[in-house]
């Protein structure tokens, strides 16, 4: 019993170490890729696959988030005669939390699953070994372009999700429930600061990196056969999802501390 627990603990620590080394290699490979114009075509291709093709699904997610928030919150606020405050409630929720997190979760499913399945299949059909056999580092060739594409485009996709979330909330609140448009936007403008938008977008960089490295690592280390690839995809999504939530929490704490310390100084500068 103790032996089994010990063996499991050693295995877990060892795989954490392997993951750490993989992340470090991926970061170094990204630096190498950025320094070579020949790598840009690979990055561009991945940006198209990962980013451009994710735009519709991320926009739909954002729009529904905004609309659902409006439907759920309207009755409570209208009961107190505060329906014009609906805008601030929806927009701050969308740009700061729900937009980034739900867009990232959608990307973990759509992009992360595809990355793990593609690299996992390449692994079990020896294509990754084939890359190595011709003297090419597979982390540079396969991981770096995907990681850079996720890093650069997740924040951009979050902006799309935010935009559609705001429009979705406006559509339900103002067009469907008849809230005064001017009041709706005035309260929104007074309640949502640039800081809130920046926080949401900056989270996207962290979420993008987490999705890419976890998905690529699971693909690179997946076990033989269809079952192995399927299991790797499931593990990649679960790990990405938990990482998104954990990172969201950690970043919320860090940004809050940062905000409390530095944001008041803004008035001294401006």
């Amino acid at each position: 019993m103790i032996g089994a627990i010990g063996a499991r603990a050693i295995e877990d620590v060892s795989s954490m170490g392997q993951f750490g080394r993989f992340v470090w290699r991926a970061i170094k490979a990204c630096g190498w890729s950025l320094g070579r114009t020949t790598s840009y075509s690979l990055i561009w291709t991945q940006m198209n696959i990962i980013g451009v093709r994710s735009v519709p699904i991320v926009m739909i997610t954002g729009a529904f988030v905004g609309m659902i928030l409006a439907v759920q919150a309207y009755d409570q606020l209208a009961g107190m005669g505060l329906e014009e405050h609906l805008g601030v409630l929806i927009n701050i929720s969308v740009v700061k939390e729900l937009g980034p997190v739900l867009a990232a979760v959608m990307l973990a499913g759509r992009v992360g699953g595809a990355l793990t399945a593609e690299l996992g299949t390449m692994n079990v059909t020896e294509q990754i070994d084939a890359v190595r056999s011709v003297g090419t580092d597979p982390v540079r060739y396969l991981v770096a372009p995907r990681l850079l594409a996720c890093l650069l485009l997740t924040p951009a996709l979050i902006i799309y999700a935010d935009l559609l979330g705001v429009l979705g909330g406006y559509f339900i609140g103002v067009i469907q429930f008849g809230i005064n448009s001017q009041g709706y936007w005035n309260f929104s403008a007074s309640g949502v600061e640039l800081w809130d938008v920046v926080v949401g977008v900056v989270k996207g960089f962290f979420f993008g990196v987490a999705i890419a490295v976890i998905s690529c690592y699971k693909g690179f280390t997946c076990k033989e056969g269809a079952h192995g690839v399927g299991q790797a995809c499931t593990e990649a999504f679960v790990a990405s999802f938990i990482s998104i939530l954990a990172l969201d929490f950690a970043l919320a704490v860090v940004f809050k501390a940062f905000y409390n310390t530095f944001w008041p100084l803004k008035s001294l500068v401006s």
Binding site: Q127, A130, R132, V134, T136
Partner: protein
């Protein structure tokens, strides 16, 4: 066992060995796949590694190119120890190798031409694309597939895929080509095409060839030297004649393709219908 000990004593480079392996052991967990193997692969010759499925043939040649690293022992390529090199340094060694994988391992997202260009593009700064296209054409012509440049791997048959993979393997004009089960899964005619290609490339390019196979027709046709692996050790090593007349019962059993008496007895003792087996009448109402 004698052959293994003989190789252990002889391993060392007399100047003609392109690959020298000393006391190579490879374990996966507690399972020993290769057990203290020592051998020298001679330059310009075709060495065939035979042995039953799962005996460690593929693991052995993946160690030669350090796609797998030994658990213990040393591997030298042209007198340079390579098993302990970091991946970055290995990349400059691996361009001297060509590796034909068992399933071809073609990149499915790339066309045939792009697959063959891949090693060239990764190692050279291309100034004249027409020159690269000429190289691709020449390599495809060597394997008899010129005109297939724009096909994708999914549109090729098993034999064509292996030939394209071979064209990719020779794209950088390697000094050493490793073939992992080149004829497995092919019909006898297509298998013979691959054998002829191995001979042709060896003749025209003069490179060192290592073939892993359990196809004895192929082994006899292409080999200058045959090595037989069994339970992770070399049990026979010599030319085709030496292997044909080898006294070891496992060697004779393998090259004649006969099941052992013990295995036969087990098969005959087991019934063909078990009591738990369902019959069609079990499903009739």
């Amino acid at each position: 066992m004698e052959e293994n000990e003989k190789n252990n004593q002889a391993a060392g480079n007399d100047g003609n060995g392109i690959i020298v392996v000393k006391n190579l052991t490879k374990k996966f967990g507690n399972k020993i796949v290769l057990d203290n193997i020592s051998l020298t692969i001679e330059r310009g010759k075709t060495t065939v590694v035979i042995g039953p499925s799962g005996c460690g043939k593929t693991v052995l040649i993946k160690n030669f190119i350090v796609l797998l690293r030994p658990s213990s022992g040393e591997i030298y390529f042209k007198d340079k120890r390579i098993d302990n090199l970091p991946e970055r340094e290995l990349n400059s060694i691996r361009i001297h190798y060509g590796f034909l994988f068992q399933g071809g391992a073609l990149f499915d997202s790339l066309s045939v031409a792009e697959n063959i260009m891949f090693p060239i593009m990764r190692h050279y700064r291309i100034k004249d694309w027409r020159q690269v296209e000429d190289v691709v054409k020449a390599k495809l012509a060597m394997v008899g597939l010129d005109g297939f440049q724009n096909y994708y791997p999914a549109n090729l048959s098993g034999g064509q895929r292996k030939r394209v993979a071979l064209a990719r393997a020779i794209a950088l004009d390697p000094e050493l080509i490793l073939y992992d089960e080149p004829t497995t899964g092919l019909d006898p005619i297509r298998a013979d095409i691959i054998n002829e290609l191995i001979l042709k490339l060896q003749r025209e390019l003069g490179e060192t060839t290592i073939v892993v196979t359990h196809d004895m027709t192929s082994a006899y046709k292409v080999a200058d030297r045959i090595i037989m692996l069994y339970n992770g050790r070399i049990i026979a090593d010599g030319d085709a004649e030496h292997i044909r007349n080898h006294p070891h019962p496992v060697v004779q059993q393998f090259i004649t393709g006969q099941v052992s008496d013990d295995d036969l007895a087990v098969l005959r003792a087991s019934g063909t219908i078990s009591k738990a087996q369902f019959l069609p009448r079990d499903f009739e109402e």
